[in-house]
């Protein structure tokens, strides 16, 4: 395959970026999208030019590191995949492909396609855990959990924290990410105890980190590589209102 790539190049967070055009040839349709970028980078290195910086690690769709905005969609055109799982068979010979970083105020660009997503860590640190020290635990089978609840918690827990939801949202809201964690923990009996505190603290951290508000367009869920459901946001909103009205504690 022969392609034309238009790639965002930006030296660091302090300089202005621009789109650069790179023709590329000899691309195999069984290559992953990142392997195609590897080819581009090897070509650039051979020409003694600076290769395109991009985040990637596991290359099997689970670490959440890869983060490319491809032809206007986070992780590209296929549903339910990360960039590393996207294959070149999804494109046609002669295509022009536009590749940008995640764009959101809370995710500043570090270099080229690499952004800083530590705001996600900050949200988790605010309450995305169950307060149990090592050694505190009771026997694992002491609390039976309804299989369907465990399943639903798992459906939320599979979030990989890649940030596609934020990149897809016109408000740069991280509500899908936040709600997935709140759903996962609040649904389980182990996590219910500190449920109110969790939702209030995490929501506050979300807003302070510079993420926008949710207007329920659903783009986040449509673009989520793990297809996390929008119903998590509804659940979060209910939990937030309930906690705001009934929490004994002010956060």
């Amino acid at each position: 395959m022969k392609l034309t790539l238009k790639v965002w190049r930006q030296k660091n967070s302090k300089t202005r970026g621009r789109m650069e055009t790179y023709p590329i040839d000899g691309i195999d349709e069984d290559m992953s999208f990142l392997e195609m970028i590897d080819v581009l980078n090897q070509n650039l290195i051979k020409e003694k030019k600076d290769p395109v910086a991009f985040d990637h690690d596991c290359r099997e769709g689970i670490c959440g590191m890869c983060s490319m905005f491809i032809n206007g969609e986070p992780h590209g055109p296929e549903k339910g995949v990360t960039t590393c799982q996207l294959h070149m068979r999804s494109f046609k010979d002669g295509d022009t492909i536009v590749i940008e970083p995640w764009r959101a105020e809370a995710f500043p660009v570090i270099k080229d396609l690499v952004v800083d997503r530590s705001a996600f860590d900050t949200i988790i640190q605010a309450g995305g855990y169950i307060s149990v020290n090592t050694g505190n635990a009771m026997e694992a089978n002491a609390i039976p959990v309804d299989k369907s609840i465990a399943n639903e918690a798992m459906n939320a827990a599979i979030c990989i924290g890649c940030g596609a939801c934020v990149a897809a949202c016109k408000n740069s809201s991280a509500m899908l990410f936040l709600s997935a964690k709140v759903s996962h923990l609040n649904m389980l009996p182990q996590g219910e105890v500190e449920g109110k505190r969790r939702v209030l603290k995490m929501m506050k951290a979300h807003d302070e980190a510079g993420f926008g508000s949710c207007t329920n367009t659903g783009a986040c869920s449509a673009e989520c590589p793990k297809e996390i459901s929008l119903s998590n946001i509804a659940r979060l909103n209910r939990a937030y209102i309930a906690a705001s009205l009934t929490s004994e504690e002010s956060i």
Binding site: D28, D30, M31, L34, D38, V39, L44, I45, K46, K49, D50, P51, D55, D57, C58, R59, E60, G61, I62, C63, M65, G80, V81, Q85, H87, R89, K111, V114, D116, R117, S118, F120, D121, I124, Q125, A126, G128, Y129, I130, S131, V132, T134, G135, A137, M138, A140, N141, P144, V145, K147, A150, N151, A153, M154, A157, I158, G161, H184, L188, Q190
Partner: protein, 639 residues
């Protein structure tokens, strides 16, 4: 050097209990002043950092990824073992211990392995309390499945994403400690050296990967949870960033590196499809619960569509050769069997380097829905990568490098031979011998991090309560920092013609061909020469764009590869020294008539712990004899 394993005396089941009762403690007021550096945030690193923080120590945790949640433990699929005996199928701590010792081909320490089996049950309790959504049955209780090399169902799982859920559990515990200030997290930082003062580990030199700044960090102890070195093979199931650098720097500062040639080749990975390939993808071992491995009986059938090959023309070779364990033989055995049938010319697929993993029997017996529930995400992953639907066509799989049993030598307390320097999880060599059983890596990482290290480290730190905070202006820090900076400049100034990947691919090929699934004396000797030549060429002809004061992934890769180029040679030397076949180490010269591994317990019943002499080609061998008090050494048989 005399290596003291420090395994406590006494009965197998009493060792850990007695140790815990007598180990020295650090009082809470002193813990507040004691600093510990944890490098790595995978299952071992994150669980250790979180637990040490909970105990009240001042912890600094480092990871090279943009968030601790992304460490490669996250990619583990199948599950985690624990001797809960929830299935009432005769499991016990002793049986888990025995399976692990046997699975490791009698090349691990009894005391360490029994402790691992004992704490396995606590891990499950802890993870459930953290909210890890393990699979459950309709009664709401935890479900189990089987894994290779054992005859009980003791594996706990969360779909095909167990590693992810366990890591997110540890990450949540870590996040809680970061929030309350007991752990300070350094993302996008890479450790580039360990600093020793008066022979004790007192800190590290790290590079801020965003700015390129070289930083000094002091502590009372340093813990490495930096994972394995499978990427020395270039193609492996490891993440792109997984590397040996932290462990290797520790080795060059005096820490012994044990059994480096013990590498695990996982039997069920998606085969290589082209020269552009950057990594290999694992298909969980759990698939062998329901999938049947086969190749055509006749070479001439290999290019036929698998569904056109009738039952009688298929060779279900694992079931045929190993009737007792069938498709669930341990990984080393399954991988080697795949190598034999493809060497015979009976491999399938485009390249001939693949065998079938067929689910049609299970789908007929259990229905497509149940199979989808068990393995749906793995089937989807396979479908996406290969463009073939495994519900209709058998998967094609082939062995790939997956895990390294070798690592830094540690004693029972998980301390390296350098005082104050600890190694946990895959970074150490301790529990899996020459072959690791499936679902045991997660168990070991979390055992070390949650339950073992936080106890054993007290025995060292109890003597350090009067030691003031480490002064990072000490000459040892200056020297180490200068060495790091000089090396980075040296790499950048080579300005040669080949990329880092060019060299890495070449190294990977040498390692896979000559020190991979099967090794032979002659090939190993050849490999030594080739690696030395490649290393010399690397230092003359590599090209790294950019400079050291910016975000520069090529520079990171070059530094890691420089270390792999030294480690590779040590692995080959270790493989040459070990004139026997055991577990993942299979020497062509030492096999039975049936092609099974032949161990030499009389001469090689030891841990090979290698010291660094200053010249990577002249490592110094130290031996720790392995004594078996409680199990009888047998020929490992799964027939």
């Amino acid at each position: 050097m005399k290596l003291d394993s420090k395994v406590p005396k006494g009965d197998l089941g009493d060792k850990w209990t007695n140790y815990k009762s007598k180990v020295r403690l650090v009082a809470p007021n002193n813990k507040r002043r004691i600093e510990i550096i944890v490098v790595g945030s995978g299952l071992a690193g994150a669980s250790a950092a979180a637990t040490l923080g909970e105990l009240g120590y001042k912890v600094k945790c480092f990871c090279f990824q943009d968030s601790p949640r992304r460490a490669h433990s996250i990619a583990a699929q199948g599950g985690i073992n624990a001797a809960k005996n929830y299935q009432n199928d005769g499991d016990s701590a002793y049986r888990l211990f025995y399976d692990t010792i046997k699975g490791g081909d009698y090349r691990s320490r009894e005391g360490n392995v029994h402790r691992l089996a004992e704490v396995s049950v606590q891990i499950i309790d802890q993870c459930v309390a953290q909210g890890v959504p393990f699979a459950r049955d309709y009664g709401g209780l935890l479900a189990n499945r089987s894994f290779g090399g054992v005859q009980v169902s003791r594996t706990f799982y969360a779909r095909g994403q167990t590693g992810q859920q366990l890591l997110l559990g540890a990450y949540s515990a870590l996040s809680r400690q970061i929030e309350n200030g007991s752990v300070k997290m350094y993302n996008r930082h890479e450790m580039l050296d360990v600093v020793l003062i008066d022979g004790k580990a007192r800190g590290i030199i790290a590079r801020n990967l965003i700015t390129g700044e070289i930083e000094r960090h002091g502590a009372h102890a340093v813990v490495l949870g930096t994972g394995g070195y499978g990427n020395v093979f270039f193609l492996s199931t490891n993440a792109m960033g997984s590397n040996v650098t932290a462990a290797w720097k520790a080795h060059k500062k005096g820490a012994l590196f044990a059994n480096p040639c013990f590498t695990q080749i996982h039997p069920t990975c998606i085969p290589v499809s082209g020269g552009y390939q950057s990594k290999l993808t694992l298909m969980s071992e759990s698939l062998r619960n329901d999938g049947r491995v086969w190749v055509p009986k006749r070479k001439e059938d290999c290019k036929k569509h698998p569904n056109e090959i009738p039952e009688e023309d298929r060779d279900y070779y694992l079931e045929r050769i190993y009737p007792a364990f069938g498709n669930l033989v341990p990984r080393d055995v399954a991988s080697r069997a795949a190598k034999y049938v493809t060497d015979e010319g009976r491999g399938v697929g485009k390249t001939g380097y693949a065998v079938y993993l067929d689910f049609s029997t299970a789908i007929n017996r259990l229905g497509k829905d149940l199979i989808a529930e068990r393995y749906g995400n793995l089937f989807d992953m396979y479908h996406r990568i290969t463009d073939e639907n495994p519900y209709e066509v058998p998967m094609r799989i082939f062995p790939a490098v997956h895990y390294t049993m070798g690592g830094l030598w540690v004693d029972y307390e998980l301390s390296t031979n350098v005082p104050g320097l600890y190694a946990i999880g895959e970074a150490n060599f301790s529990d899996h011998g020459a072959n690791r059983l499936g679902a045991s890596a997660l168990m070991q990482g979390l055992a070390d991090g949650y339950f073992v290290l936080p106890v054993t480290i007290g025995s060292y730190l109890a003597d350090e309560i009067r030691t003031a905070a480490t002064d990072t202006n000490h000459p040892a820090f200056k020297k180490a920092e200068n060495e790091v900076k000089t090396r980075l400049e040296k790499l950048l100034n080579i300005k040669g013609d080949k990329s880092v990947d060019d060299f890495h691919i070449a190294l990977g090929k040498i390692m896979w061909d000559k020190c991979g699934m099967a090794r032979e004396g002659k090939g190993l000797k050849q490999a030594l020469k080739e690696i030395q030549e490649l290393r010399a060429e690397f230092w003359k002809n590599v090209f790294i764009p950019g400079d050291a004061h910016e975000f520069n992934p090529e520079l990171e890769k070059a530094g890691r590869l420089a270390d792999f180029l030294e480690l590779g040679e040590l692995m080959v030397n270790d493989a040459l020294d070990r004139n026997e076949s055991c577990g993942g180490h299979f020497r062509e010269e030492y096999k039975s008539k049936e092609g099974e591994a032949v161990r030499d317990d009389e001469n090689y019943r030891y841990v090979a712990a290698w010291g660094y002499s200053g010249d990577p080609s002249k490592p110094e061998l130290h031996k720790e004899a392995l004594d078996f008090e409680f199990v009888e050494l047998k020929t490992r048989s799964y027939k």
